[in-house]
Amino acid sequence: MIEVKDLVKNYGNFAAVDHVTFSVPEGTILGLLGPNGAGKTTTMRVLTTSLAMTSGKVTVGGYDVVDQPHDVRKRIGYLPEVPPIYGDMDVISYLKFVADIKDIAPDKKTNRIGEVLEMLDLENMSRRLIGHLSLGYRQRVGLAQALLHDPDVLILDEPTRGLDPKQILEIRKLIKSLKGKKTIILSTHILPEVSSTCDDVVIIDQGKVVAADSVENLSQRLAGGKTLEMEVKGPSADIEKALGKVEGVVTIKLAGKELRGVSRFELTTDGSTETREAIFQCVVKNKWVLYQINPLGMSLEDVFLKLTTKETTG
C-alpha cells in the first residue's frame, strides 16, 4: 500500500533522511521509531506530499507522491506533529471546514462529524473554541481531522502526544481497531506504543534505517539468547577463567557474589545451543554446581537503545 524506496531528503548538505526504504502492506500498522531528529517527521511530510524529496520513489496506494500528489491527498489522513487547528473556531465548525476541503458529500457531513466526535470522545467539547481546549483535547481534534473523511491510509505523527494515560490507552485501542481496515504509519518515541499497536517497526536514527522487521522478530532476532546469566557454586575466579576458555563464549563477567559461594555471571556468546552445552559440560567436569542458566532477553526498549545509541568508548 505504501512503498518508500531509497528516500533521500537533504537540507543543504545535511541529510535529514538518508536512503530510507520500507513498505507497508495494506491493512497493517507500521511504527516509525527513532530518537529526536531521526527524520520521522521529515519522512512523513514527504509521504503526505507536503515536502518534496531530494531523490527516491514513494508511492501511496499505488500513486506516486511526486507525479500524482492529488490522488495521494485524497486517500490519506494526516496528523502532523503540531495538530493543524484554528484556535478561533469551535470544534464543529472546524470539522465542517475540514469536511468541505476533503470532498465529503454534504449530506454525509453531519453524520460523519458526529461519528468522529464520538470516536474521540469529543461530544462535550463540540461547541468549544479550539483555542480554549487543553493540549490533549487539541490533539484529539487533530486526530478527528485525520479520520474524518475515512481515508484508506493514515499517517499519524506522534498520535498520543499530550494525552493522559487513560486517553493514550483509548487512542491505541482506536488505532488497533483500525487494523485490517486501514494502512497506518505512526511515529513515536514510546516503545510500548509500537509493541502494543504495530505489526511492523522501522527504527531510524540520523536519517538511516537501522532496523526494520516485524515487532516480534525484531525483539527476538536482536536479543537472540546471546546474553546468558548463570549462577554457579564454586570458586569464582576459577569458574570465570574456565568458562572464558569455552568455545563460543565471547565475554564473561562476574556479576555478583551470592551467599554460600554461589556466584552470578553474565556471558555473551555466539548464541548457539552447542555453546550452552559446552558451558554446562565445563561446569560438570569441574564438579561445580550449576544453579541456573538463563538467556537474558532484550526488550524492544533495549533494542532501540542499542541501535540508536552510539558507543562513545572503544
Partner: protein
Amino acid sequence: MNANKVWAIARKDIGHYFASPLGYVVLAVFFLVTGFFFALIVEQTRQASMVPVFQNTVIIFLFITPMITMRLWSEEEKSGTAELLITSPLTLWEIVLGKYLAVCAFFGVMLSSTVVYLVIMMLAGNPDMGPVIGNYVGYGLAAMSFFAIGLFASTLSENQIVSAVITFGILLMLWVIGAAGGSAQGVFGELMKYVSIFQHLEDFFKGVIDLSHVFYFVSIIFISLFFSVKVLESKRN
C-alpha cells in the same frame, strides 16, 4: 477548480476577521474616516458628492491592506495549519483564490457602509450616477489590487509583521513611483509613470471607465495571485 472548496476556504478566512478585534477595528476606522469626509464635504460645498470621499480615502488602503492581508498565509504557516491545507485535496489556486475572496468579501462589508452616503445623496438631490459608478469601480479595483499584493507578501513569510511591512513597502512604491517617473527621462520614466497607481485612478475619479486602466489593475491582481501560487509551490522544496 472547485468553487465549493474555494468558498470553504473563503468562509473560514472571513470567520477569522470577525473572530478577532482587528476586523472590527478596521471596519470602525473605515466608517469613521469615510463618514468624516462625507460630512465635511457636504458641509463645505453644500453638495452631496461621493467623488471627494473616494479620492480622499483611497489612501487609507495603504494602511488597511497590510492589516487585513498579513495573516492570510503567514498565520497558516506559523500555526501549522498550512500542512492541513497543503495535504488536503485542494489545488494551490483554490487556496489562494479562497483567501483572496475572503479579503475581498471583507472589503465588501466595508464598502457597503458607503451605500448610506449614496442614499443620503439620492434623497437630497439627483446625482449623476455615471461618476458614482466610475468611482466605485476604480476604488474597488485599486483596493482589490492592493489586497492581491498583500496576499502575495503574506506567502513570503511566516511572520505577520514581516508580511505587513513588505506589503506596505510595495504599495508605497506604487504610490510614489509616479512622482519619481515625472523627473526621470525616456522609456524608464514612462514605465515608472505607467506602473504608478495614481495615473490609473484619475480617470475613474472623473467618472470614466477606461478599459486600459481596468486592465492595469486586473493585471496586478492576476500577477500577484499567480506569484502567490508559485511561492507556495516552491515551499515544498
